[in-house]
């Protein structure tokens, strides 16, 4: 991979979570059969596209996400489940979509930062 195709910002300091406003929660998991990273969508299904994830902003909504994750595990559809933070829209640097707050979750949503050729989508 030619070095000049990797942006310098790839090794700049990750954003401090403390300065990131959290805009809601989404449910993330890996699909059992193929290990693909998926998110609970509005229809109750599992999508690899983080932008299609169902966003909840209330404690009750977060409980519903957890319940859906548990149900997905019991149904042997997903594993390694977690409810994760996404940024508030004004903080995510992009006018569309759901940007996970933590770098780890950003990488899970997009792909390895060192292999943009394998990215599932544009960097968040």
């Amino acid at each position: 991979m030619p070095r000049d195709e990797i942006e310098p910002s790839v090794i700049s300091a990750g954003r401090r979570a403390g300065r990131v406003a959290v805009g809601g929660k989404i449910a993330s998991a890996n699909r059992l059969r193929d290990g693909v990273v998926v998110y609970l969508d509005a229809a109750g299904g599992w999508t690899p596209d983080v932008d299609k994830a169902r966003v909840e902003t209330s404690p009750e909504g977060e409980q519903e996400l957890k319940a859906a994750l548990d149900a997905g595990m019991r149904a042997n559809l997903v594993l390694d489940t977690a409810v994760i933070d996404i940024r508030a829209p004004e903080s995510n640097g992009s006018s569309r979509g759901n940007a996970p707050a933590r770098l780890r979750e950003q990488i899970r949503a997009v792909g390895p930062t060192v292999r943009p050729d394998l990215a599932r989508r544009q960097p968040l």
Partner: protein, 551 residues
Amino acid sequence: MYIYDKFDQTVVRERVAAFRDQVARRLAGELDEDHFRPLRLMNGLYLQLHAYMLRVAIPYGTLSSAQLRRLAYIARRYDRGYGHFTTRQNIQYNWIKLEQAPDILSDLADVQMHGIQTSGNCIRNVTADHFSGVAGDEIDDPRVTSEIIRQWSTFHPEFSFLPRKFKVAVTGAAQDRAAIKYHDIGIQIVRGPNDEMGYAIYAGGGMGRTPVVAPLIRAFLPQAELLSYLEAILRVYNRYGRRDNIFKARIKILVRDIGAAEFTRQVEEEWRQIRETGVNLPAAEEARIRRFFAPPPYDSVTEPVAALTQARAANPGFARWVETNVHTHKVPGYAIVTISLKPPGGIPGDATAEQMEAIADLADRYSFAEIRVSHVQNLVLPNVKQADLFAIWQALGKIGFADANSGMIGDIIACPGLDYCALANARSIPISQAISERFADPTRSAEIGPLQIKISGCINACGHHHAGHIGILGVDRAGEELYQLTLGGAADQTAEIGQLIGPGFTAPDAVDAIERIVDTYLKLRQPGEEFLAAYRRIGVAPFKEAAYARG
């Protein structure tokens, strides 16, 4: 190299069938994840950030060209066209589907390969000197010992549910190229008082949160008694290793807590009771295994080899590569080649299917069809004629693996880090790329000389940063990736754990700090003095001061 007989092959085939059954039960919901996880781990299948990751065992880092071609096929057919060679001489694939894993294991079994015990709380792949069998300083080929241990440890009924993972490494020479003192058991082949063959046994070494250099447990163990002694160590560990806290469950904690002397006493007491119970390998079987490691049919070649001398004189780039990447072979006219998988700006240890196939072709043509994987994440052609070195170098240039950086500052060990690994706190590959680019100039690299940089993306230390001359540990502080530097680590027989020099740096600052450290070394070194020796002579102070001096 070792070739399976019908028994070895049956073991692997039966394992594939059993795993296929386990996967089917998991997908049908008969097995829940808590109970399935240890079963899939014992076949090397992890769940990582992006997908399942399969770790394929490469026993003591030895591969045939046919096996390497199969690894390329797996990468192409089931993954994204590449694999990653690891610090335990294995290969990892990052994009595996659970439902395809049984087929992958079956395809591997076709070439006598598997993922058995590359994960889980069991005895892992035995690693060994990547120059085994061809190094001039070797007392005995550690691969014979390693193969004996491999068979004994495979599906061991008593030791498949240990408190934690268990790693063994073997060196056949006093020069330790296998980092044995950082393993749960480290084995050094030595000669006894009557010149008989045997082993020095170290136990309780490790990396991770609490790095430890293993103490010597027994100075001389007769060769024939190896398996009973290992059983005794494993049994003491299995009984008394902690099971209440996974961060305190390795054997190094047990040895530290009860002391090496008491640990040795318990092992020797257990050993006394079992050494005559038939655990040891019969001499006939040892001889049978040893025959597979007989030397290949070398030609008789006199040195110096004119073709090599002339090529070096005519081509400075080639000459530089010979200086760094070609090592003395015990047979005149031959050489050992390190294939650097560390192109500047590249991902350490990664190879595409095409690159693997090209290397398999080179092995067929020039190295008796054999390749080695080193724990430094490079590949080795162990049996190359000096007359063929120039052609090999040119061929490696075509696939991007001809960098003259073996053992040099650009030969960085880096774990996959947060780009791939679910355990990581920070990325390790981008900082590795930045460092290798900063020091890419071959003249500068040669001027700096041997310098081992090792990077881990979390405290589990899979990048062996504790043993780096310069070690780098990635941490997460309030959502920011920071990099702590350690200095003065060593992985060989002079094993030492690196010293943390201070607070962490951002990635760009860490690269600058490393450059200042290197410049300090260049300024203070004595003629011909390598980095580690200079550091040991001078001490940490000037390096620390330089690291934290800002422009």
